[in-house]
């Protein structure tokens, strides 16, 4: 299969790597770069488990071709924590028990990060609409919503 060389910035680092021309971004992240944080839930755009941030926008990496990221900037779950200290969203997810099996969690965290970057003080309704494209089979969502509210508060009170 045809291989292509891709140049991107992933979590602040320049990366040059080989991918298959028919790879999705999700496949490239997991299989070419060993970044296993983004998960394959549905592979058709419906679940959000594969969500990453591309040029500042939340996208489902299963619905992006790897070739499209040439020259783009990506943020993935692997870059969310700052070295050893967790991001406030990660802390709030842990403390609010906003995960069980954890398959949906990287997607929810990236989607929540994209939300708080754009709207640091979202209402519950805004959070629910924003996260409507992320599915969770375990938690029943309420704890996730609370975790996002909680971390918004933490971020706002510390800044």
């Amino acid at each position: 299969m045809a291989k292509i060389v891709l140049n991107t910035i992933i979590n602040g680092e320049n990366r040059e790597f080989l991918a298959d021309e028919r790879d999705s971004l999700l496949e490239a992240l997991r299989e070419r770069l060993g970044l296993m944080g983004a998960k394959e839930g549905c592979n058709n755009g419906n679940c959000g488990a594969c969500a990453v941030i591309m040029d500042g926008r939340l996208v489902n990496s299963c619905c992006v071709m790897a070739a499209e990221i040439e020259g783009a900037e990506l943020n993935t779950i692997e870059g969310l924590a700052d070295a050893d200290s967790l991001h406030p969203l990660q802390e709030a997810f842990l403390e609010n028990a906003a995960l069980q099996c954890g398959i949906c969690t990287p997607g929810f965290l990236m989607a929540s990060k994209a939300l708080l970057d754009e709207n640091p003080d979202p209402s519950e309704e805004e959070i629910r609409w924003w996260l409507a494209g992320n599915l969770c089979r375990c938690t029943g969502y309420d704890k996730i919503i609370r975790a996002v509210q909680d971390s918004a508060q933490r971020i706002n009170s510390s800044s």
């Binding site: 058709n44 959000g48 996208v59 070739a67 494209g133």
Partner: protein, 288 residues
Amino acid sequence: MQSLTYQRATSIGEAVSLLQNGGDTARVLAGGTDLIVQARERKRDVSLLVDVKHIPELIGVSYSPDTGLVIGAATPLYQVYGNKDVKEHYPSIVEASSVIGGTAIQGRASLGGNLCNSSPAGDSLTAMMAINAIAHIAGPQGERDVPVEDFFTGPGRNVLEAGEFVVNIHIAPHQSGTGGAWQRFIPRNEMDIAVVNCGTYLALENGSVTNARVALGAVAATPIMVPAISEILIGQALNDEIIDMAADAASEAATPIEDMRGSVKQRKHLAGVLTKRTLAIAAERAQS
């Protein structure tokens, strides 16, 4: 995924020649939210993806009171419904484009993609038809304009010829005394395919209707206009009785199929209900 190549076009001319040389299985890639999934699931044969998002004319929204609204065909939806002129003058476009998928889909999906995917249930289609949006098309023979209401030829099919693609979507400048509205019915609150959707557009002068356009989706092989409603409403003052007549005409015009999303009876009923509701909202907007 099937074996395919990816090319990034940076001009309209380059995209036309890539598509032309690529033959039947060359496809325009906009947001990819339909196409990448269809290619993976082999619902479409794709040998070449022509990424049009780096062509300047295909990205962005601009408005002028003289020439109207131009939406680049590949502009992601969040930029469409987030645009201040769209918000101010074209609420029906906001209503339709802000319910297509969730946040991650709206970061990529485009009106051009919704249009060219040509699903009978595509949500933005009835909003664009009602407001008489025009698709501006480029191709090997040059450029041409096709009203969105004349764009569809069957489920998943449209008027585009080999090598052609949609550059932008044009909507006439907003006039006072006019209003549009759009709604859909889905069993959940979000992230679902419409059982029925409906776009309306009204122009009023001294309380009487001078133009009325109603479009229905998911009730036939393509989204449809309901000219009977225009005939009922034009020249009349709006009141409950006449709006009920319009709703009945909508139910009658609907020739839906029966599937897991809804029965024929339910869809015909919904066509009437949504027509009634959106006409009421459009009238309010036209008067405000």
